[in-house]
């Protein structure tokens, strides 16, 4: 009797195994009746073109083979994309239909997932397939320890871009050294010196010194500054914000002081634009913007060639050399099995080494599959870049720094929690606003002829710091995000 039961169990399990196996081979896709996938992305310019080209290639090859047609729709900036996705997911009136596939940051993914609109990619990516990706990158898209909501597409880190031509001129004149730019304190001091040096070049007018430094992502600056100084301002582990007064003060003073006194600046849309306009000499920005760093700047309606120096992201003195690690992946929306599978097919193809390298390297992104870094083509491409035109050499330089940071140094990506994306923008906006107002006030004070020290005193950095914290607190309270101070 028992033997019979055992046999029956064995038979059943074999049966289940067989059906499971056949289910694995089963596909919802039909080449004769291709499924149409709408892809929303935030890429612009060359990235957009690269993506569209890739999509086109996919549609003609793997897509037509398997019955998937991808329609890539550019949604402008990350902000716009995220708004559109949120509206679609929430079913806001007049919102567009939910895309099947879209670029997504972890914070956003968490929010959309709460609406039950995200598909767990574990269903479509086997363990073996997942193992191809850089573990850290993949972890960013993993939630609750289980659910894979985001597949990394490309990653980037931040580094220090320097107009070497301008820097060298200043350094030579002032006995400066690029090594000073390795700390924020050094950057601040150099910027101060640069301002004074440029101011002095026009003796006829005072207070018209030029800014050395720009920060592309103020939020990243705050987050990574905190991290370098041992604080996780976005404490994903405890799902709260940690406001460490001492650390925040250091970060605040550097940025606010620099902005107020004209050592730092932000004019155009991106700091690279400011470089192109000659308004800045250096900035911290994403490696993905490498291609945007110009080979020339416009000076008096003509093109003035410049050299490029790529440096590691500065570190606060006494802090750990952390650099940010970021990059949106893509999420698949809950829809029909065909669409989900179609989206997954595209993602697999798009993140496969060859495709991923090609797409990443158009602007300076990092590929997401660990194999890509060992890939001969990747290395050859890098060599080509190094040997190529100026613009390509620039990109190669960025890769050197970025790869160094990713491989050798510590990169950091805050663990998201509900509302953590708002914390980012709160930090970004509040400090940017503080900096802008500080600059306006300082400009007025300069016109009154006050010295830098007097201006700083008049601005009252302590009070402004409190003001900043108050602004952050009120914003956090408003959004109902828990925070602690210490």
């Amino acid at each position: 009797m028992k033997r019979k039961i055992k046999l029956a169990c064995l038979f059943l399990s074999v049966l289940m195994l067989l059906t499971a196996c056949s289910a694995g081979e089963k596909t919802a896709l039909d080449p004769k009746n291709p499924v149409s996938i709408t892809l929303w992305h935030y890429y612009v310019g060359d990235n957009k073109i690269a993506l569209e080209t890739a999509v086109d290639t996919f549609n003609k090859s793997v897509g037509s083979e398997k019955g998937v047609v991808v329609n890539a729709v550019a949604k402008g900036s990350v902000t716009e994309l995220e708004k559109a996705v949120t509206d679609a997911a929430k079913g806001v009136v007049n919102a567009e239909a939910m895309p099947d596939l879209f670029s997504c940051y972890p914070d956003k993914a968490l929010e959309i997932d709460e609406l039950g609109k995200l598909c767990d990619l574990n269903d479509y990516f086997s363990e073996a397939e997942q193992a191809l990706y850089v573990e850290e990158f993949l972890n960013d898209g993993q939630f609750d320890g289980e659910r894979l909501l985001i597949l990394p597409i490309v990653k980037s880190t931040e580094l220090l871009y320097v107009n070497e031509t301008a820097w060298n001129e200043f350094a030579a004149a002032n006995g400066q050294d690029a090594t000073k730019l390795s700390t924020w304190e050094g950057v601040y001091a150099a910027a101060q010196a640069y301002y004074k040096w440029t101011d002095a070049q026009t003796p006829e007018s005072s207070g018209d010194g030029k800014s050395l430094m720009g920060v592309d992502s103020v939020a990243n600056y705050v987050i990574i500054g905190n991290k370098q100084l041992g604080v996780e301002v976005i404490d994903g582990q405890n799902q709260q914000v940690v406001l460490n007064r001492a650390v925040m003060k250091k970060i605040f003073d550097t940025y606010y002081g620099g902005m107020s006194l004209g050592y730092f600046n932000a004019v155009g849309k991106f700091r690279s634009d400011d470089i192109k306009a000659g308004d800045l000499t250096a900035y911290v920005g994403s490696s993905s913007g490498a291609a945007y760093f110009p080979t020339w700047i416009e000076k008096d309606n003509t093109q003035l060639p410049i050299d490029f120096l790529a440096l590691s992201y500065p570190v606060f003195e006494g802090g750990s050399p952390y650099a940010i690690q970021q990059g949106a992946g893509m999420s698949v929306a809950n829809s029909t099995p065909e669409k989900q599978e179609g989206a997954a097919v595209f993602l697999k193809w798009f993140t496969s080494e060859a495709q991923n390298i090609e797409f990443a390297m158009t602007t300076g992104y990092l590929p997401v599959q660990s194999g890509a870094y060992e890939n001969a083509e990747f290395k050859a491409s890098l060599e080509d870049l190094r040997a190529g035109e100026t613009a390509e050499k620039n990109v190669a330089a960025v890769y050197d720094i970025a790869l160094n940071q990713i491989m050798e140094r510590d990169t950091y990506a805050s663990l998201p929690f509900k509302g953590s994306y708002e914390v980012r923008s709160t930090l970004e906006k509040s400090l940017t606003t503080m900096g802008q107002s500080g600059r306006q006030n300082a400009t007025a004070l300069k016109e009154q002829g006050l010295s830098e020290a007097e201006i700083l005193a008049a601005l009252d950095l302590n009070a402004r710091f409190e003001e900043w914290l108050t602004a952050i607190r009120s914003q956090l309270n408003e959004s109902g995000i828990p925070y602690i101070e210490n």
Binding site: K32, G45, K48, K60, G63, K269, T302
Partner: protein, 978 residues
């Protein structure tokens, strides 16, 4: 002969035919009307409509864009002319001055931003006739080129400065592109710069014409060398004189073009696509084309001339396209140029391609489904027909089945069919049935009221059921009116008729298990034309009565032994069973019953019989049939008890056994029970019981007469002598009962006077069994009927004397009395009161034969004498008579036996004897009669010898009337006396 089909079948065929005709008609109608192919036409029309709508939408939207670009261009023209004036320059030389150019660029970017905001385009640009940054380079043109990645959103923040001074970027906080530049360069391949050259050329051809006339569309190209194919539309920037010195243009990149202007959502069929290309003479020129998506890109080969074959409908074509096979294309020429445009001959045609089979898929599928539907509905209709017909006719079928299975007992309850005619019919039938039922019930009732336990049944050859009347339901313990199948009936019938009675025809013994009662049934069956009818009567009461009677007859009430009839039956049965065995019929007669009866009364007599029966039960152990025949007679039949000697031994033992059984009489003495027995053997003596009985009876009789208390075996010789005794047993009874005798009278003549002295009344039987009175006497004696005989003779004699007293006169009547018998007191009294006046004429003759009861004879004689009657002693001289007797009796008359008289005339001895007797008698005063005078000599002798009276044939024969003496004879006697 006409075929008869069931209603169901007929309806089925009829309705099935209707359904078939209908289906065929439907198919023909569909075929004739070509409805099948209307859908194809409809699909083509739909395709045409879609294409038409799309082309109209495109035309409208492009028209609007063109108008807007023209508007903006004209405004920019005016602004730049103004700027040139302010700078004391000409519009053509604006690029030469840095400040003027910066202003120009900003003005232009205003216009471009405005264009981008207003129109669904991915870029807008402004190109001047020279380069500000490279003034000496003729191929360099200062330009502002702004791209918008999100034309649909209306957001400006995504604008990207591809070409233009950084001032523009700052002005609009616009990001610069990777390939950000200050100039655009001409001088590539021929025609690459047509977007700049063509509109300006147009403007020179038609001076001062409206701006739209100068507009120029480029074919798709990678304008900015960034792998992005775009289509551009440009208009010239003109000075006051209408001379062109730059262009304003828009670009639409291919992805957006297909997304926005040739959207997939339009396409109704899969594997279909749009394409925009030039078309001439039914040939699609694929030198350039704007595809709507991957399919178009895949299947349309660049540079190919795609021949199209026109179809019926306007603007619809057919072509072969690689793997996709036959494609249907709907084509519409797009209006991208004004009619008066110099470029109006450039044809832009929008074509929508759909695989032919896909287009006709719906139609084909509809056709298929229609056929399936028709087939299916036909099948369904068939099924429905069958089902409906089934249900419709079921009521009627049920009705007929119901009627077929009805048994006449059943009350008919027709279920209404809902069909008026049928229901009317059934109602009528029901009524008829009701009446029949009533009739049958009446009959049944009458039977019931007759109180006869009788029932009938009918088994029809054809029917399954058997018809029974109420009585049979009761008899078989069935529910009245329930249906009984033939099988059930056969079982019951078997049970009923299992035990037929042997001796009675048609009567069966039946044990009712249910009531545990024994019954007898008379079952009579008769064939009817279509089966069998039968009647069953409960005759239990009759049989029981008969049995009861039989029982009474079978057993003797007193002894419990078999009766006479039972003996006969049982014995016969035994003989029949074993005819070869030896049997013995033992006839027994108790010796002293009469004595006991007379002495102790009948109760004791009965006890004697009972005790005797106990003795005879001895034979039961040998299987003997022990019976009491009557009174004191018993008969036992032993059969198959061995040979005769063995049986004799058994019988012998009876006497031993009998000795132990005594009868105690009231006087206190124990009496042995004595009996005489006779045996007759089967088959030696007789083979049937009646004969055996008769013969054994005879043997017993012999024993009784010869040696009481013994057993005699049948002796045929003796029997042949004495058989009459037995044979006439019945006759004597009859004779006695019916007084079947009469008297003959023989005259006794007075020898002195010659006159008739008396008549002797001689008994003559009226039955033939007896030859003479002696036999009557013998039989009566044998049967112990002497007393009755005596009584009858005496009574009848007195009666005759009384009746004929006139004729008799003074003459005496001699009556023969049986000496041993004496009438009882009652009879004596009767005679005394009635006939005492005749006593003096009566002479009672007695014989000497029975002298055993001398006492009673003395008593009798004294009675006779007392009453004044005379006594004659008959047959004196023969047998027992002697002188002593004469003395003791002292009779009045002695009749000398004829033995002594006949021949006396020549016999001295007789003469001496008679003379002595006469002498003796005369001495005693006793008269003498001579009997048997038959010859005259004898008469003469006796007269001589002094005999008083004489009797005999010579004197007168016995006659039934009182004869008179012959005068001749009287004279002779008188003569002799003398």
């Amino acid at each position: 002969m006409k075929k008869t089909w069931t209603l169901r079948r007929q309806l089925n065929i009829l309705l099935a035919l209707i359904v078939t005709f209908q289906s065929i008609a439907l198919l023909s109608a569909l075929w004739v009307s070509q409805v099948f192919f209307m859908l194809d036409a409809e699909a083509v029309r739909l395709l045409n409509n879609t294409t038409e709508t799309r082309s109209k939408t495109f035309n409208a939207s492009m028209g609007q864009t063109i108008a807007n670009v023209a508007d903006e261009t004209e405004q920019l023209n005016a602004a730049l002319i103004l700027l040139a004036r302010q700078q004391d320059s000409t519009p053509e030389s604006l690029y030469l001055s840095d400040s003027a150019y910066n202003e120009t660029a900003l003005l232009a970017s205003d216009a471009l931003v405005s264009i981008l905001k207003e129109n669904r385009v991915t870029g807008a640009f402004f190109v001047l006739n020279g380069s500000n940054s490279n003034k000496g380079d003729p191929s360099a043109h200062s330009a502002v080129y702004i791209r918008n990645t999100t034309p649909d959103s209306g957001v400006t923040s995504n604008y990207l400065l591809e070409i233009g001074p950084i001032a523009v970027s700052k002005q609009y906080t616009m990001a610069t592109s990777i390939r950000w530049n200050l100039d655009i360069r001409s001088g590539g391949e021929a025609g690459d710069f047509d977007f700049y050259e063509k509109p300006i050329w147009a403007s020179t051809q038609f001076k001062n014409s409206e701006m739209e006339r100068y507009g120029y569309w480029t074919t798709p190209r990678d304008l900015l060398k960034d792998n992005q194919q775009v289509v551009c539309y440009t208009m010239p920037v003109l000075d006051e004189n209408g001379n062109g010195y730059g262009v304003v243009g828009i670009e639409i990149d291919m992805p957006y073009f297909s997304q926005h202007y040739l959207p997939d959502s339009d396409l109704l069929y899969h594997n279909s696509f749009y394409v925009i290309a030039g078309m001439t003479d039914q040939t699609l020129d694929l030198d350039w084309f704007i595809p709507s998506g991957v399919l178009a890109e895949t299947y349309l080969k660049n540079g190919e001339q795609l021949k199209l074959k026109a179809l019926e409908n306007e603007g619809v074509f057919e072509t072969e396209l690689g793997e996709l096979g036959t494609m249907v294309a709907s084509a519409r020429e797009l209006k991208v140029y004004s009619d008066n445009s110099p470029f109006a001959d450039q044809n832009w045609t929008l074509a929508c391609f759909v695989p032919s089979d896909v287009l006709r898929e719906n139609s084909a599928s509809v056709r298929e489904k229609l056929i399936y539907s028709i087939v299916l509905t036909t099948i369904l209709a068939f099924s429905a027909v069958f089902v409906l017909v089934y249900f419709f006719t079921r009521k009627i079928s049920r009705l007929s089945k119901y009627v077929r299975e009805l048994s006449p007992h059943d009350e008919i309850h027709f279920k209404p069919t809902g069909m008026l005619e049928v229901d009317d019919l059934t109602a009528a039938l029901q009524l008829l049935n009701q009446r029949l039922m009533n009739v049958s019930k009446t009959t049944s009732k009458i039977l019931e009221l007759s109180l006869l336990p009788i029932g009938g049944y009918e088994v029809l050859d054809s029917g399954k059921q058997v018809i029974l009347t109420d009585f049979l339901y009761w008899l078989l313990h069935l529910d009245p009116g329930s249906l009984i199948s033939q099988e059930e009936w056969n079982d019951s019938y078997q049970k009923l008729t299992r035990q037929p009675l042997e001796d009675q025809e048609n009567i069966y013994e039946y044990y009712d298990d249910y009531t545990e009662k024994q019954m007898w049934l008379r079952i009579l069956e008769a064939k009817s034309p279509n089966g069998v009818v039968g009647v069953i009567q409960d005759v239990t009461a009759d049989i029981e009565e008969k049995r009861r009677l039989t029982n009474e007859l079978d057993y003797d009430a007193l002894t419990g032994l078999f009766s006479n009839t039972a003996l006969k039956r049982e014995s016969t049965r035994r003989i029949t069973e074993k005819p070869k065995a030896i049997g013995a019929m033992i006839f027994i007669d108790l010796d002293n019953l009469k004595y006991i009866n007379d002495t102790f009364g009948h109760d004791v007599g009965d006890r004697l019989i009972i005790r005797a029966s106990e003795i005879f039960r001895y034979f039961e152990q040998f299987g003997g049939v022990v019976s009491r025949i009557s009174g004191d007679e018993f008969a036992i039949y032993l059969h198959n008890c061995g040979n005769q000697n063995e049986v004799r031994q058994i019988i012998k033992n009876l006497y031993v056994h009998g000795k132990s059984i005594l009868l105690t009489t009231p006087d206190g003495s124990d009496n042995q029970i004595r009996f005489s027995a006779g045996v007759a053997w089967y088959p030696q003596d007789a083979t049937n019981v009646m004969d055996l009985l008769k013969l054994s009876d005879f043997a017993m009789y012999e024993a009784k007469h010869k040696e009481k208390g013994r057993l005699f075996e049948f002796n045929r010789e003796y029997y042949q002598q004495m058989s009459y005794l037995l044979e006439n047993r019945e006759a004597i009874n009859r004779l006695l009962d019916e007084q079947l005798i009469r008297f003959a009278f023989q005259p006794i003549v007075d020898l002195k006077t010659g006159e008739i002295y008396a008549y002797e009344a001689l008994m003559r039987p009226l039955v033939n069994n007896f030859k003479n009175p002696t036999e009557i006497l013998a039989v009566a004696a044998a049967q112990s009927k002497l007393a009755q005989l005596e009584r009858m003779i005496i009574m009848m004699a007195f009666q005759i004397i009384d009746e004929h007293s006139q004729q008799i006169g003074e003459r005496k009547i001699f009556i023969n009395s049986i000496p041993s018998q004496m009438m009882n007191e009652e009879d004596h009294l009767f005679i005394e009161t009635r006939y005492s006046q005749h006593f003096n004429r009566v002479v009672i003759e007695v014989t000497e034969e029975e002298s055993r009861n001398a006492e009673s004879l003395t008593k009798k004689i004294s009675y006779i004498r007392n009453k004044g009657m005379k006594i004659a002693l008959d047959d004196f001289g023969s047998g027992y008579s002697n002188e002593i007797r004469v003395l003791s009796l002292l009779p009045d008359i002695i009749k000398i036996d004829m033995e002594m008289i006949q021949g006396i005339h020549n016999n001295v001895d007789k003469q001496n004897l008679v003379a002595n007797l006469v002498h003796f008698c005369h001495n005693k005063g006793v008269k003498v009669v001579a009997e048997g005078i038959e010859v005259p000599l004898d008469l003469a002798t006796v007269i001589e010898m002094g005999v008083d009276y004489a009797q005999g044939f010579y004197l007168g024969r016995p006659a039934f009337e009182f004869s008179i003496i012959d005068p001749q004879l009287r004279k002779e006697i008188r003569d002799l006396q003398k």
